[in-house]
Symmetry: C2
Subunit: 191 residues, 2 copies
């Protein structure tokens, strides 16, 4: 097996197992077995668990934001619809199998105090999401895009947390309605 394929399989296994059960609940040997890779190869690809964890978060960040952006681009035509589509995408995610909240929040709770790399990955992810919503707000012609974008990010995080901890996927609808109300007050009428 090639180095790159082993790396991909390890990241796939990490993405599933770390998200499903938490980082510390999954051992390197279980990961190795799930990926179908030898322990020696594992440590060639990721010399320590720390590095695997950070690579898992970095890749998940890219994929998560790409999936969101792709859905929004495909399902909405107007700037306002794009904002609302964000919450439609969340609704689908929440209702899907295996949803267990935000991987970055979870990892931060587990390791943020102890691992700078994890804390930085969580920070960067949230910062990037906020950048995305701020972009949507700017496209709307909002008076203060940073404010509206930040508020949309709050609603996203709140919905994820509520959906996970309360097991309530309808949090996405609640957040969508709140976002619509914020849009109405923060943008020039009729935009």
């Amino acid at each position: 097996m090639h180095h790159d394929e082993a790396r991909t399989r390890l990241l796939d296994a990490a993405d599933r197992l770390f998200y499903e059960r938490g980082v510390q609940a999954v051992g390197m040997d279980e990961l190795r077995a799930a990926a179908g890779v030898s322990l020696k190869r594992l440590y060639q690809c990721f010399p320590a668990k720390r590095e695997l964890v950070e690579a898992y978060l970095r890749r998940r960040d890219e994929r998560w934001r790409a999936a969101l952006a792709e859905y929004v681009a495909a399902h909405a035509a107007t700037p306002a619809d794009r904002v609302l589509a964000v919450f439609d995408w969340l609704a689908e995610w929440f209702a899907g199998p295996g949803f267990r909240g935000c991987a970055f929040v979870n990892a931060y709770g587990e390791l943020g105090a102890v691992s700078d790399g994890v804390a930085a990955a969580a920070h960067d992810h949230k910062y990037a999401v906020r950048g995305y919503t701020t972009g949507l707000a700017a496209a709307l012609g909002a008076a203060e895009p940073e404010v509206l974008g930040g508020q949309l990010a709050l609603l996203i995080d709140g919905a994820i947390t509520t959906a996970a901890l309360n097991g309530d996927p309808t949090a996405a609808h609640l957040a969508r309605d709140a976002a619509a109300a914020l849009l109405a007050t923060a943008t020039p009428a009729g935009s």
Copy 2:
């Protein structure tokens, strides 16, 4: 030392250490030392770490919600001010020393998949907070108190997450402004 005093000191130490560094990063012996209690006494009070963790969460839930309700009652006169005061309290919490996000979200990320007790404690906490905000919304005369209350809870969770992961205490102000906008659209004019 009395049994009850040992229990209190253990819970005090747990509240500080578990919140500060995460549950799994703190060993029973370190906890014992921080509480100034013997290991034998520790296991008399809490026969397993699991039980100490759950007691920590239960007590923190009560104290957190009591502190919030007390602040709101003391700093706001009208129903609308009470809603906004929630976010003022959050702003103080975020800016205080040692803030590291929501203890329940953190514990859920760490152990929610593996411990039913932790998942239930997190659920119950969020459910209770939502009940509180729904009460505030009802006092406002909101057309749909459950909706507004739920949305306020989303903003609270979003603000906590953003403040923690982005290290940005001003998330409370953002959330406060968003709450004000929601109040304006969800309540009869002038209430």
